[in-house]
Symmetry: D2
Subunit: 240 residues, 4 copies
Amino acid sequence: MTRVTIWNEHIQELRDAPVRRIYPDGIHRALANGLAGRPELEIRTATLADPEHGLSEEVLAATDTLIWWGHVAHDDVDERIVDRVQREVLGGMGLIVLHSGHFSKPFRRLMGTSCSLSWREDARHERLWNLRPGHPVLDGIGETIELAEEEMYGERFDIPEPDELLMIGWFPGGEVFRSLCTWSRGLGRVIYFQPGHETHPTFHDPQILRVIGNAAAWAGRRIRMDVTEARNPAPRETTR
Amino acid sequence: MTRVTIWNEHIQELRDAPVRRIYPDGIHRALANGLAGRPELEIRTATLADPEHGLSEEVLAATDTLIWWGHVAHDDVDERIVDRVQREVLGGMGLIVLHSGHFSKPFRRLMGTSCSLSWREDARHERLWNLRPGHPVLDGIGETIELAEEEMYGERFDIPEPDELLMIGWFPGGEVFRSLCTWSRGLGRVIYFQPGHETHPTFHDPQILRVIGNAAAWAGRRIRMDVTEARNPAPRETTR
Amino acid sequence: MTRVTIWNEHIQELRDAPVRRIYPDGIHRALANGLAGRPELEIRTATLADPEHGLSEEVLAATDTLIWWGHVAHDDVDERIVDRVQREVLGGMGLIVLHSGHFSKPFRRLMGTSCSLSWREDARHERLWNLRPGHPVLDGIGETIELAEEEMYGERFDIPEPDELLMIGWFPGGEVFRSLCTWSRGLGRVIYFQPGHETHPTFHDPQILRVIGNAAAWAGRRIRMDVTEARNPAPRETTR
Amino acid sequence: MTRVTIWNEHIQELRDAPVRRIYPDGIHRALANGLAGRPELEIRTATLADPEHGLSEEVLAATDTLIWWGHVAHDDVDERIVDRVQREVLGGMGLIVLHSGHFSKPFRRLMGTSCSLSWREDARHERLWNLRPGHPVLDGIGETIELAEEEMYGERFDIPEPDELLMIGWFPGGEVFRSLCTWSRGLGRVIYFQPGHETHPTFHDPQILRVIGNAAAWAGRRIRMDVTEARNPAPRETTR
């Protein structure tokens, strides 16, 4: 069982009608509903407005994978919560960062780079190419995923070279993007997945949900251990 | 010509007699002297006590590689200077972090991890194994580097998987360490090199100086470009 | 269920008394017995002397992870079987190469390098350091594995930079070794694990068996697909 | 000075009029002429029809970077020459593989994978995105390289995860490609660069020539050392 916490800033769904039409209960609820069919995932949600953004010590200690969607309120996320998320990832928790979460504090903190990119809201086609059929995160995904409309995200994406580059996105306006990437940080796994603009029904797409569910299971914590302290051990000499 | 700035917190050399004996003018001067024979490097130094820690916008803009040694005063480094160093690395500057700099703010910022490790001040032998003879950073270095005395630094070192693992250290007390590692961050290169405890004459060793000089040249900035801002370009359609 | 085929050249156990004493039924049987307690693994064995070395098309098609031990008879492995193993790995099969298998044809074929190393049969202590507690391959393994006696294998090991470096070995004679490494090749995973000289009871050690069993499960095939042919598709234009 | 040998199978230029029109003296001569303005490169050429394919022991020993273009005659390359090229790369030589050379024997040998891909001769636009401005191989290259016509090469490209992914290609028919990749193998560097179909004037393009020249200099041999043999050293105990 992988315990998943879906975090959403949950602002645009409340104030912008076009977003609310697509995600009336919020992106977090859409994701939770979309993953409900996976018995190996136990799901809860949290939002920016919750006390401690819904990410108390207790919640994170009981979270194996944290999914993160944010866009207009990155700056409102408390640095202490960011510290906490970073520490949990280093200690073994998985973190899945979606779409505009590229500029979120936890992602930038764990990458060490600016995570900038180019973008255009033209609501055109995206094709995502599968570079690793059979990888656990791509289980059940064929040669491509096709999205009828998505925001363009283009290179250069300012990230460290991924440990694994799993998908590359193609856009009709002439751009490409490293759309599905994994890194290890401490004892945890970080995954970035590019699709998911709030004005498109991306998080209702079965294939997108499949990847997110796969990723949540694959990145799930297998250990919880504080790795942040220096140790000062005695020598352990060998006898021979 | 690679413009190198050697940064040293310069505290223990002033207050601790055993350190002063080995580095009477400070570790930064020992390094500057040790690299003086390399005509391709133009060297200046900076210390914590200097205004803006000696790392003004002007200095960093004119720095191709920044070398960093710190130990007891990591917390005293101003966050604004750390921001500035990070931004310069992302924009193309090289950064070489030495020994106890593993816990420095710039290194932890760029790695995204805690950079913790195990250590023991037992002043015994270290052997560093060369995994990449002929790599520019290891130019002139044979199968091993032998240090008669060095502080033990042991795994697990909490760093992201290096892009290149160039040397592994062996210690008689039973430890190993990823002693020479490179990563790219933004358009810049980051190198970590483990030897260099303040109570040992490590920075007088010709082979250690050779590696540091090689690294300074190899990681040197080849571009300066702000990569931190998102771009919003128009589509560039193709005609055919 | 992961279907595992354990391949052993099975020569020294038959002709050398010291080896036979430790592995009276062969290394393959020792491994099969040692993994028998893992219900998720379904195990069969194969040896050099079997028709097609026990690795017919049918056997490999029904193998999710192939474990390989060889030493004195690498040259006797038929190139057509090596072709077949390579093709299955590219198509999704896992391959775990043990100890002296570093010089086996399948491993050298998949690495593209010579896989040379330094060695010494001095039967002394080895300590293996765990760089990734919580990684599925290291499930249940603590900070180190201690082997009272093992052949020394030392750097420089002529392998491509691993995707993941999971353990580093320490030897009292002054050597280090990248002892547990993973790579992806095609759709499959390749793992190299260094301990396992035929004159030591390494494959009776519960921790070594734990790693091998973990690796067999982790690397197990999740797809079977021929990836070796070029494709010549029609364009798939987008409508908008 | 980097000593460069440009190898070309040199068949289609002799027999196919459309190819001969673009490359009347052969692709190797076009490349040699295109790189003639770089004083740091000393260039010679070799072709399939030459004795030992022009790649004698002497020639390779005096080659720092080998550039390889082949297409219709991969199978005619002698395995002994492939052994020799592989050994030289492992010993420190650089190898740059162009376009259809993805299926050449030396490249497949060094990668360990099938190097298959998808392709379409539709002579349309290609845009190559620069992921690493300022990398020595991309010195002088801006955000993109635009080719008015090129053969489509698309994913999935069956290669090991590159050490560095430097450019991604975009094609109007909906494909993407990892177009500029580097790997280390032994002490040498291998670079793959995708553009260069024989019916297009790609090797007359100044930016393409710039990348190839940069790559030849960057990957150039810095050492020559046989790394293929196992060593059996005595222990080197430490005294303290």
